[in-house]
Amino acid sequence: MSDYTRFFLVDDDIDDISVFKEVLKEVDPSIELVSAGDGQEALKFLKHLRDDYPDVIFLDLNMPRMGGKECLAEIKKDAALQHIPVIMYTTSSQSKDIEETMLKGAMCFITKPTNLKELKNILHSISRNVHSNLEKCLRTLSNTSNTFIVC
């Protein structure tokens, strides 16, 4: 295990990646952010790792080549990867997307917030709790935040 925190963002939208990166830097500059542009690229990256796995994966739904649902299923199938918490991070707030991904083993479903403060708030909570009780923190977040979060 590495001693620093690493987030992995899988998203095909470079604008969203850059905003995420900026906000994360403000929240905690020590957190490393790695990103991939689609599910295939993400899996390729994850399968090359030995033990320095990311602490949490943020996964978009609609991506070229391999979408979030398929990528999530592949991660949960892989014995070496299935322990990594996956947070769906997407524009959708459709119940069938939520149900499907939660059933496939996503820890949480977050609809991308429009408000920067919201995003900051979310990333702040996650970075603080990523090594302790992430699931509980997300559940609290879903009750207090204005962002659409389902756990």
Partner: protein, 396 residues
């Protein structure tokens, strides 16, 4: 018309009589010849001799009535020999319309011919009209089924389209808001520039809630099941959902006893949410909202009929002390995008009550309101307690 007789002299005299009366006459000397001619040509009437060598008149008649082409052609039997009652009966049962014995009165025969051929023409006309009609009905039915199928497809496509469109519109909008915020925070803190950016952000936010409302409107076309649910439970859920704005405005809510009814719970929750949040939103300045909810029963689907002890419908009243509206706008408030107030006074997208109306109609009920400007408003929902059929898929 066709005259069938094995005797030339009989044929000749009858033919002459008829031709003198301007009838178009054909003749046959035997049953076999007659049948061949009937298959080939169109006749309005057949005059048939009973006694003939080979096939006799009865057999010919039976054959004629057996063909679908000729079954309606009237047959008049003409006989000099078989004048006994049992022959006459046999004539009728083999398909004849009349049985005339010789010697006959030519004038009477002509009158009968005239009547029968007229009858035949009318029957034929009627039959033609009927089969024509049947064919048309079949065609139209097929057309309707086809059109219905097309409608269903295009309706499903439209829903899908609305959903995708609203969903995809969210993406760029989210970026407009996010990047405007970044510009504002990092580069333009004060002054005119900041004000313009605030306007960009608030307009974008408004568009976002518009898209969200459209999204939930298009989701309404999916059809879940009715379940018997306590309306008090629904009201309670709504109050919990609105807790924050109730606290912020200091609103007071009194919910009386509401019955259980066959409803779609999620949709009914949306109805309560939209009406109650309107009641909170459209409050008088400086006056905390007071909202009362109660119900009664009625036998008719009407907001006007007197209440009864136990009826087929329940009526839910949601009454507030807000700004109210003039009842001349009653139709408008339930129409999509219709707003009675400027955006700067009261925010909103103008979709909320149209969603309410659509949901209540899907529940086979009705929704209306009583109000006057400055006097608060009472929304009345009339709902059947029992639903007899599944929710109808909504065709728009």
């Amino acid at each position: 018309m066709l005259i069938v007789d094995d005797k030339k002299e009989n044929l000749f005299s009858l033919k002459t009589l008829l031709q003198l009366n301007l009838y178009d006459v054909d003749t046959a000397m035997s049953g076999e010849e007659a049948l061949k001619k009937i298959l080939k040509n169109e006749y309005e009437l057949i005059i048939l001799d009973v006694q003939m060598p080979g096939m006799d008149g009865y057999e010919v008649a039976e054959n004629i009535t057996g063909y679908s082409k000729s079954k309606d052609i009237p047959i008049i039997f003409l006989s000099a020999v078989n004048i006994d009652k049992r022959f006459i009966t046999k004539g009728y049962s083999s398909g004849g319309v009349d049985y005339i014995t010789k010697p006959f009165d030519p004038e009477l025969l002509l009158l009968k011919i005239k009547t029968f051929s007229k009858l035949y023409r009318q029957t034929k006309e009627l039959n033609d009209i009927r089969s024509n009609l049947e064919q048309k009905v079949e065609e139209r039915t097929a057309e309707l089924i086809e059109a219905n199928k097309e409608l269903e497809t295009s309706n499903a496509e439209l829903q899908q389209y609305a959903f995708i469109a609203s969903h995809d519109l969210q993406e760029p909008l989210r970026k407009i808001i996010t990047f405007s915020q970044i510009v504002k925070e990092r580069f333009v803190h004060t002054g005119e520039g900041a004000q313009y950016i605030n306007r960009i952000i608030s307009s974008s936010e408004r568009m976002r809630s518009l898209i969200n409302d459209l999204l939930s409107y298009s989701k309404l076309t999916v059809t879940p099941e009715f379940t018997n649910t306590s309306l008090n439970l629904i009201a309670q859920d709504t109050v919990t959902d609105l807790e924050l704005s109730i606290k912020e405005t200091g609103a007071k809510l009194v919910v009386g006893h509401l019955p259980s009814a066959d409803i779609i719970p999620d949709q009914m929750r949306q109805v309560f949410q939209n009406i109650i949040s309107n009641a909170i939103k459209f409050s008088k300045r400086g006056v905390p909202p007071e909202i009362k909810i109660w119900s009664d029963f009625t036998e008719e689907k009407s907001a006007e009929t007197g209440p009864v002890e136990k009826g087929r419908y329940c009526r839910i009243y949601i009454c507030d002390n807000g700004i109210g509206f003039s009842e001349q706008y009653l139709d408008k408030i339930f129409t999509m995008f219709q707003r009675l107030h400027g955006r700067s006074e009261y925010e909103g997208t103008g979709i909320g009550l149209s969603i309410v109306k659509k949901i209540i109609e899907k529940h086979n009920g009705l929704v209306t309101a009583k109000s006057a400007e400055g006097e608060g408003a009472t929304f009345i929902i009339v709902l059947p307690l029992k639903q007899t059929a599944k929710p109808a898929p909504v065709l728009q």
